[in-house]
Amino acid sequence: METTFDLPANIAFGVIAVAIIVAAIRVVTTRNIVHAALWLVVVLGGVGAIYILLQAEFVAVVQYLVYIGAIVVLFLFGIMLTRAPLGEMLDLTNRTMRVGAIITAVILVTIMVFSVVDSFRDEEVDFIAYSGDVAAAQTFADLSAEEQETVLDEVAAIGAEGTDLGPVGRTETVSDSIFRDYLIPFEVISALLLAALIGAIVIARRD
């Protein structure tokens, strides 16, 4: 059991990734503003699917609830409340957007290549389904009988909660890191969002 290449997961990733890229291109090239918002749904839904593929269940559900259920719906609501033409709007795409697209693409590729190379160096990374991998099995075998019992109890407790996800996917891990390790940044962001909200109300009010 040296190789951990998970073929179905890699195929699924490929299919989803292609769908996301096609949809993302359609978001900026379509000449119907409502279609652009609907293509965005495909992009965000695809990202959610990749989270599921990575077994980050909680993050995936938040992605669907917040991005598709709330943000895109508010986009569409705003568009339809102001103007929602059924045909094409010719001024939605023009020649100068190509320049912007090239600049953005170059910056994005630079950042992504840098961060991937910087974090992984020459490690080989595959989609590995969470499993009792070889190293963990070895560690478990090295434990004393008593310690093994404790580990099994913990595993059973997790099983009773109805989840067999990796440590990253478990809701407890997410909540622990938000409300313990990153509590202050989290609160600061909430205050920032509140300030933005109040600002929007102040700007929108006419009296």
């Binding site: 269940e57 259920g69 719906v73 569409l76 989840t163």
Partner: protein
């Protein structure tokens, strides 16, 4: 699959689960439509309702369904073809996904997700997208108005719906639907376990807020501004005929059943009987679904009772009820539950 002597392969289980959900959604819509929309409404108005098709008119909805399937599939001339056709499917998919996490017995659940109830709330919010798509793509100002009204209403009532659930989640200490059922059947009221601990007792405020929000999510009277016949003809589905209209109908009644089942699971103990009664797990495989459906029918009765009794809210009353009453109340409920959870 604990009852079977043999293990089914993963794909076989998946096929069976998909078939069960595919039958459950129209079945649920059929039961609610017949029992409440046809019969209860008729009795409340001192008439018999459908009596001809089948004994006591039981087959009336099937006859109506066949009628819908035979109708011409009309596409408005200026409609956005693809979006118009996709919209009912989006609404129906959201309903199908809701049924994934509803437990009807010890093993009778499509998938006991760790994020259970949170998943249900997330997929229920997807139906708004279908409503907006339908309203816009119909190229009809009544449809667009209906779609906009529906969205404004669904966004406003999504919040109390989610916040009302938080109290239950704090008390149960888990998001998993089976976990919430077990927390109630195994719970005790001050050391007395005769009834378990249905969250109906401690979270009564949560149940009331949840059911009001469900009423609004379903755009049922008194929250039927989006589909008000006298103002908008039919709102976002005014241009839909035939099987596409049937999709919206199944979506509405299927979602009503699903939300009643979720409320029964969260607040009334779901499929389970209290542990102290000592009913064996094997018996619960059979009793569970019956108990759940009984609770669903009781809760649906309230939903439809309100629907057939009250007049329509005005738009401003509707928004004020959500933002100034339900959301503050549910926040108070969360704080109180949190404090009591830590105290006990």
């Amino acid at each position: 699959m604990g009852l079977l002597a043999f293990e089914l392969a993963y794909w076989q289980q998946t096929v069976i689960k998909m078939l069960v959900v595919a039958v459950a959604v129209p079945g649920a819509a059929f039961v609610l439509g017949y029992v409440f929309l046809f019969k209860m409404l008729s009795f409340m108005q001192s008439r018999l309702g459908p009596m001809e098709a089948g004994p006591y008119g039981t087959l009336q909805l099937i006859a109506d369904g066949v009628k819908f399937l035979q109708k011409e599939d009309i596409l408005p001339d200026r409609a956005d073809r693809f979006v118009f056709k996709a919209a009912p499917a989006v609404v129906l998919i959201s309903t199908f996904l809701l049924f994934v996490v509803i437990p009807a017995g010890p093993n009778a659940i499509v998938e006991d997700l760790g994020v259970g109830i949170f998943f249900a709330l997330a997929v229920s919010s997807l139906s708004v997208l279908g409503v907006l798509m339908a309203g816009w793509a119909s190229a009809n100002k009544f449809s667009l108005m209906g779609g906009l009204r529906a969205t404004g209403q669904l966004i406003a009532y999504e919040l109390p719906l989610v916040l009302a659930v938080v109290g239950v989640v704090i008390q149960a200490g888990t998001l998993s639907m089976q976990g919430i059922v077990n927390a109630q059947s195994g719970g005790e009221i001050f050391g007395w376990g005769g009834l378990g601990n249905p969250f109906l007792l401690t979270q009564f405020l949560g149940l009331v807020i949840f059911m009001i929000a469900v009423q609004a999510e379903l755009t049922q009277v008194p929250f039927d501004m989006p589909v008000a016949e006298s103002e908008l003809v039919g709102g976002y589905h005014v241009e839909y005929t035939g099987f596409r209209f049937l999709f919206f109908f199944m979506g509405e009644f299927g979602t009503a059943f699903a939300f009643a089942a979720i409320a029964a699971t969260l607040f009334l103990g779901g499929w389970a009987l209290p542990d102290s009664w000592g009913v064996s797990g094997t018996a619960m495989h059979v009793l569970g679904p019956i108990i759940l459906v009984a609770k669903v029918m009781i809760l649906s009765f309230f939903v439809f009772w309100v629907r057939f009794t009250y007049p329509r809210f005005r738009e401003d009353q509707l928004q004020q009820l959500a933002w100034k009453v339900l959301i503050p109340l549910s926040l108070v409920n969360i704080v109180a539950t949190g404090i009591l959870k830590v105290a006990f």
